[in-house]
Amino acid sequence: MSGNNERPIWVLQGNEACSVGAVAAGVNFFAGYPITPSSEVAEFMARHLPLIGGRFIQMEDEIASMAAIIGASLAGARSMTATSGPGFSLMQENLGLACLAEIPCVILNVQRAGPSTGLPTQPAQGDVMQTRWGTHGDHAIIALAPATVLECIELTACCVSLSEEFRTPVVLLLDEVIGHMRESVAIPAPGSYKVRSRPLPSDDEEDYQPFCCRCNDVPPMAHFGGPHRFHVTGLTHDERGFPTMVPAEVDKKIRGIVDKIELKADDLAMNEETMTDDCEVLLFAYGSSARVAKASVKDLRERGVKAGLLRVKTIWPFSGKRLKELAPQLRTIIVPEMNLGQLVTEVERAVAGVAPVRHLGRVDGHLFEPDQITDFVLEEIAS
């Protein structure tokens, strides 16, 4: 990476980069409540949104913040909030409404060590399962995890795009290390990504039905104040948006919001692989842990161990496709996570016993060191 005029270099903090990505992807509404280690996002938005025709508001809590971004999205805005564990817990209620009522919005969760107030300034990856299952009832969710500051830009923009495309809330799951570190970034070349807009009904469509879809399509979404008026409810509803208790309609609705995402899991999978071609030991990681795993893979190769890294950027929906393909060649799969075993359960499910899966957990509020992962791998293959 070197500086030239085509690709300027910036040094950005992760949280700042997320904000830049959001603004660049057209986010024009932000509601949030201060919480470490995510407050820099709110501060950025408060500074910039009034200058680019958007609006910022600091709400009374995270419950209201989530409500406000859903309301804004319904009125046509591209909306976002940012929080950390305790606030994310409070957002679960209305996150469920956004899933059921199919309203696009983006939630940044800069993970810190929990549970409860935990360690506000220290990193963790303990919200992986809360992201998937934190709100009650059957639903699906999209969640992406950046490992670099450049990815904070790219994946935030990607979250905006996916939320619009799928009419669903999307979570950017970063951790304190990524959110707070500053890193040099070569600004992406023009046309590097595609930021989509929500599917719209045509203005003259008669009898617009806001939740009517054919097959597993995403239903077109009008907005409050536009040519179509419509009803939205957190009650289970029919294709017109009105409450229903008819079993066939209820079943169709719930399967619809799950299938539109889960059936696309392999398409949505974004991975980065390092030396996986001939690897016998696979490290599976995401977020800041994956950076350490990468350093460890290099160490292990120098020691003659055929190690490789599969880093996932898409956490949810989980795609086991690459793992299934790699499993037959592997002696073991090691999953380092800053938790006591969350995404590893999905890894185990995907490889279904074809290769042994071992978890390396760390919950002391600190990032792994490369030696810790390397030593663990060496012990595993010796035994």
Binding site: G71, L74, G191, H231
Partner: protein
């Protein structure tokens, strides 16, 4: 008059079959009637209005009103309304909430909405009980009155919603009852026309849950109670605190001019972008660089 009623009826969703989910004799029908008369009378375009509610019997009201409508989670109507209004200030935004909805689970949102003064109207239908869940006591159940969770009489003391809203800084606060229908029409219209956050508390009757537990003989008995215990703001000003015990003071309690949130925010934004000395050169350059990045991101749209 009948023409006005006909016009009001056109503000009910044609697809929703009446009757409503509400019990016979419930005051919510009166509130819905009043709201449709007011918005039809004001000529508010249906597509340019959003009616937003939380959970409970009152929460079902937007389902019937033929505007954009949003039935949210318990207590959160004002949070959603804040987002809707900020994203599209052209919309007339009216929230309808019950007493438990607005000042128990939604109490925090309520006081902060009062303080912010965003141009939203909050109609609070106060029936002094949790009706839909079967009659549990609420923050407005008077001390000593019964609920299914206050079987020996309410140990707690009730909120005065008008005082709460006024104390929290709402710029328009009024109260009436479902018995005083003409006043209700007038107050809802005044509230919607008010530029800023407006609160109309509508004292209502829940015979099914509150009335039966508290020795009312039927819905009509409860209307009589409202008629007899209501005094106007003017009458109340001449009454002693002892005389005011148990009285419902109806009319406009607060009406004041204070700059509205979005007006202030947008003026600030205009001043910032227009005045090159305010936005320093570095900030301007930074924004331009984000815009360039945005162009790079957007290059492949379509």
């Amino acid at each position: 008059m009948s023409q006005a009623i006909e016009r009001a009826r056109t503000y009910l969703k044609p697809l929703k079959k009446l009757p409503t989910v509400w019990c016979g004799g419930c005051g919510l029908g009166v509130v819905m009637g009043s709201l449709t008369r007011v918005i039809s009378g004001m000529g508010i375009e249906k597509n340019k209005m959003a009616t937003i509610s939380g959970i409970g019997c009152t929460g079902r009201l937007p389902t019937y009103i033929d505007t954009n409508s949003l039935h949210t989670t318990h207590g959160r109507a004002l949070g959603f309304a804040t987002g809707v209004k900020l994203a599209n200030p052209e919309l007339t935004v009216v929230t309808v909430m019950g007493d438990g909805d607005s000042v128990a689970i939604g109490g925090n949102h309520f006081i902060h909405a009062c303080r912010r003064n965003i141009d939203i109207t909050a109609i609070v239908v106060n029936n002094c009980i949790y009706g839909m869940t079967g009659g549990q006591y609420s923050p407005t159940t008077p001390h000593g009155k019964r609920g299914t969770t206050a079987p020996y009489g309410n140990v707690e003391y009730e909120f005065n919603i008008v005082s709460l809203a006024a104390g929290a800084g709402a710029t328009f606060v009024a109260r009436t009852t479902v018995y005083h229908v003409r006043e209700l029409d007038k107050l809802i219209e005044r509230a919607i026309r008010h530029r800023g956050f407006s609160v109309v508390e509508v004292v209502s009757n829940c015979y099914t849950s509150y009335g039966r537990l508290n020795k009312f003989s039927g819905p009509v008995d409860m209307f009589k109670w409202m008629k007899e215990s209501a005094v106007t703001v003017k009458q109340a000003s001449d009454m002693s605190p002892d005389e005011l015990v148990g009285k419902l003071v109806r009319g406009i309690h607060v009406e004041k001019d204070q700059p509205e949130f979005i007006d202030v925010y947008d003026k600030l934004a205009r001043d910032l972008t227009a005045d090159s000395s305010t936005v320093n050169q570095k900030l301007r350059e930074t924004i331009e660089s984000y815009e360039r990045l945005g162009d790079r991101l957007k290059a492949r749209i379509g």
